[in-house]
Structures are given as C-alpha cells and as structure tokens.
Amino acid sequence: MGEEKEVGIVRVTLDVLKPREVSLEDLALALGEVKGVETVDITVTEVDARTETLKVTVSGQGISLEELEKVMNEHSAIIRSIDAVSVGRVG
C-alpha cells in the first residue's frame, strides 16, 4: 500500500485586472516561477484606456492561490474572481 497522496489545486482560471503598463510577458514569467506551477496561459479579454482584463489559467501540482495573488499584487494586478478550479491528488 503506497502513501496516500494529498489533494491540491492542479488548475485554476482567474479573472485578473492589470495596468496596461505592466508587461504581459513579465507577469506570465513571474507566475511561472511560483512553486508548483507548470504552465501559465494568459489571454487578454478586454482592453481599456489604462487597464487590461485577463483570463489567466495556471496548471501544475499543488498550486497555492495565495502565492499567485502575491505575485499578481507585486505586479500591480488584482484577481477579480476565481472562475474555475480543478483539484487532484498531487505529490
């Protein structure tokens, strides 16, 4: 009998607002550095005069939403809502 794996987030889709000045590439790369993250997909869904609305999909093993939020905030972006979450056995 193997050790029971823990349940963690493997995929999350976020609705994010960021200033236009902040580069998409920098934000994506910073999110990619977060522990447990394997891939980051960002799609711009709306462009306003000073801001952009993004659909951010992060996949990986045991993703920490808190860490993602921290990185977002450091890059002047805010999570407006969590639109989808997938969890699974990780570790």
């Binding site: 200033p19 000045e21 580069s23 000073r50």
Partner: protein, 201 residues
C-alpha cells in the same frame, strides 16, 4: 560572481521599470532640452564676458562653475518635484480605476525610480553641457592658452555641441540629422550675434 549576478538582476529590474513607466522618452526629452539650455547659457555668458571686456579666466570659470551648479540643482529639484507630482497623480488615477491600492507594487516602485532618473538627467544635462563649454578656461589657468583663444574655443565648442545635440534629435526623429543640427546651430549663432550687438552698443 555574486556581485555580477546582483548587478545583472538590478539592471533587469531597472529595464522593467523603464519599460513600465515609458520614462526613456521623457529622459531623452529632458536631456536634449536641458543640455541645450546649459550649452546656450554658457555660450551667452562667455560672449557676454568677452564683449564687456572681462579678461580674467578665473572669474569666467568661477562664475561658469557656479552657474553649472545652480543649473544642476535647479534641474534636479524642478524635475523631481514635477515628475513626482505627475507620477503620483497617474498612480492615484489608476488606483481609482482598479479600486485597489498600488503602494509597493511594480507600478509604484517604477514611478519612484522614474522620478529619480528624470531628476538626475535634468540635473546633469545642463551642468555637463555648461562645464564642457567652460573647459577651455581651465587651459588658460594652466597657462596653455591665451584668454582670447579660450573664448573662441569655448564658443566653438558650444556651437559644435549645439549642432551635435540637434543631429542627435534628428536621429531620434528619424529625420535629417543635418537639418536638426543646423536648427540648433542657428539658435546658437543668433544668440552670439545678439550678444555681440549688445556689446557693440
């Protein structure tokens, strides 16, 4: 190796800030405007000293250095306060739109760095331009040049500097460097002629 890595990291961060704030364009503008001010002011001062019969290199240098320092301080304080006000306004506006505080985030940090960069460029550009124009008078003090020769040399350096500044702006504009250079040169020559006329009168 660690120092190199830290420097590389700091440089990358600075590049990100410059990109976020789009400060490169503003720095270019500040540099050109204020270097122009510095060179033309020094040209005017040297011409004015000469036509009014002043023949003491120490006075020209002392006054020139004081003028450079004053222009530097004025540039730093003026640009710092102006940029700070404008950038803070922009961040507050963004905060209103995003319904959040941006203190300590990349936008906030980048704005502060941009303000400092603008102030440094605004301080150095006129001071350096003026010092370059005043440099021949050091050679007079070292008894390498005669005062009159230093005056001509200083005027020549100022006019060349103005031309090169114009040429640089021409390149920035993606236009003719020669035409832009001649615009700047014309401003320098017009100043010289005006001061010459005042001296004659």
């Amino acid at each position: 190796m660690r120092i190199l890595e830290a420097l590389e990291e700091a440089w990358e961060e600075l590049e990100e800030y410059v990109e976020v704030t789009n400060v490169g364009e503003i720095l270019r503008r500040y540099f050109a405007m204020n270097a122009f001010d510095g060179a033309l002011t020094m040209l005017g001062f040297v011409m004015g000293s000469y036509v009014s019969g002043l023949e003491d290199a120490r006075i020209v240098l002392a006054a020139g250095l004081s003028m450079s320092l004053a222009m530097g301080v004025s540039g730093f304080v003026g640009a710092f306060i102006t940029e700070k006000a404008e950038r803070e306004r922009s961040v507050r506006e963004l905060e209103r739109i995003m319904l959040t505080r941006l203190d300590g985030t990349v936008i906030d940090r980048a704005s502060k760095i941009a303000t400092l960069l603008a102030a440094i460029v605004d301080a150095c550009a006129p001071a350096v331009a003026a010092l370059i124009s005043a440099s021949p008078f050091v050679l007079v003090l070292l008894r390498v040049l005669e005062f009159k020769v230093a005056v001509y040399l200083s005027i020549g350096i100022s006019l060349t500097f103005l031309f090169l500044l114009g040429a640089y702006l021409g390149r920035v504009a993606g236009n003719s460097s020669l035409v832009y250079g001649l615009y700047m040169l014309a401003a320098g020559l017009a100043t010289s002629v005006l001061i010459g006329l005042i001296g004659g009168w």
